[in-house]
Symmetry: C2
Subunit: 178 residues, 2 copies
């Protein structure tokens, strides 16, 4: 199951770190790539690229001005469209169906203002609690649930750096020593 | 099990939204309150307070200049100290012990630079993957795992607003209509 993330309405100053964190969480937790709308921000693209260079894998993000075209293209190639929103169906009521469906997923997360037709266009409007929190935490829990926790074991090809987990302390080595 | 979150090294401009999202995620996913160090930022305190006013519950956050004193106090009152770090023990190896322990928890999440002695002082240094992503996603998955997903059903007393989950659309009512 291939999973992509579409982030709507990025604003460079206000959202810089949040959007970066969103894409890094997507990468670390098993999504394959992403798109964003709003203002193009080479800073976040570079930030994510640098993480891939150092830590491996090939998570590409692309800027687009047309979120509907992305959603349409994903749907035509067989993906389900999931919109994360606190107003949607509780994730725990839908997760089993989503896991069982072999379809790829496009997960859409909004910014401050979500286009109204997104609610209609999405196959699933899913809520990770009906409380306000963060697109980063909502995405993390959705990915974790979709993968049944197995994403925590994911490894990344071609990394320069590898963490050797420590009970107390910090150990990072160059990949060739691994 | 009472869970509190301590966020280190808040920087008002750069971290404003991230720290707010971190505390909102903590609240929504079943933590009881939080602390932060770094520069005091009334904006995030007010933001979290407003969410509690509208959406219920009583998640208080306090600024402190002394993270060690907070950790010490929590330990003396019987809490375990968990530091979330990509360099730590994979969460999936520790979670069962943490769930079984009846002790309260203090979860510490760092900023850009983490004090070295935090790794020693913590009972657990836990990694949600050994990859860089976000304190918000790492905290979300830890809370979700600690609560075995039951936090998704949590309700909040005294809210003004209540979401009525919709498959397609958005419905929020005043609490007295609920």
């Amino acid at each position: 199951m291939r999973i992509e993330v579409l982030r709507l309405g990025h604003r460079p100053v206000r959202d810089k770190r949040l959007t970066t964190h969103l894409f890094l969480a997507a990468r670390a937790l098993g999504a394959s790539g992403g798109y964003y709308t709003g203002v193009r921000d080479e800073g976040i693209e570079k930030g994510v690229r640098n993480v891939c260079l150092n830590w491996g894998g090939s998570f590409a993000i692309g800027h687009t001005t047309k979120w509907k075209a992305v959603a349409q293209r994903c749907r035509e190639s067989g993906s389900e469209i999931i919109h994360l929103t606190m107003y949607g169906t509780p994730i725990q009521l839908a997760i089993e169906k989503l896991r069982e469906s072999p379809k790829d997923k496009l997960i859409i997360v909004g910014g401050e203002k979500v286009p109204k037709d997104l609610y209609q266009l999405s196959d699933w409007n899913l809520a990770v609690t009906s409380q306000p929190h963060s697109e980063v935490s909502a995405l993390a829990i959705l990915l974790h649930e979709l993968h049944r926790g197995r994403e925590l074991e994911k490894t990344f090809d071609g990394s320069r750096l590898v963490v050797i987990p420590q009970e107390h302390g910090k150990r990072v080595i160059r990949a060739k020593e691994a």
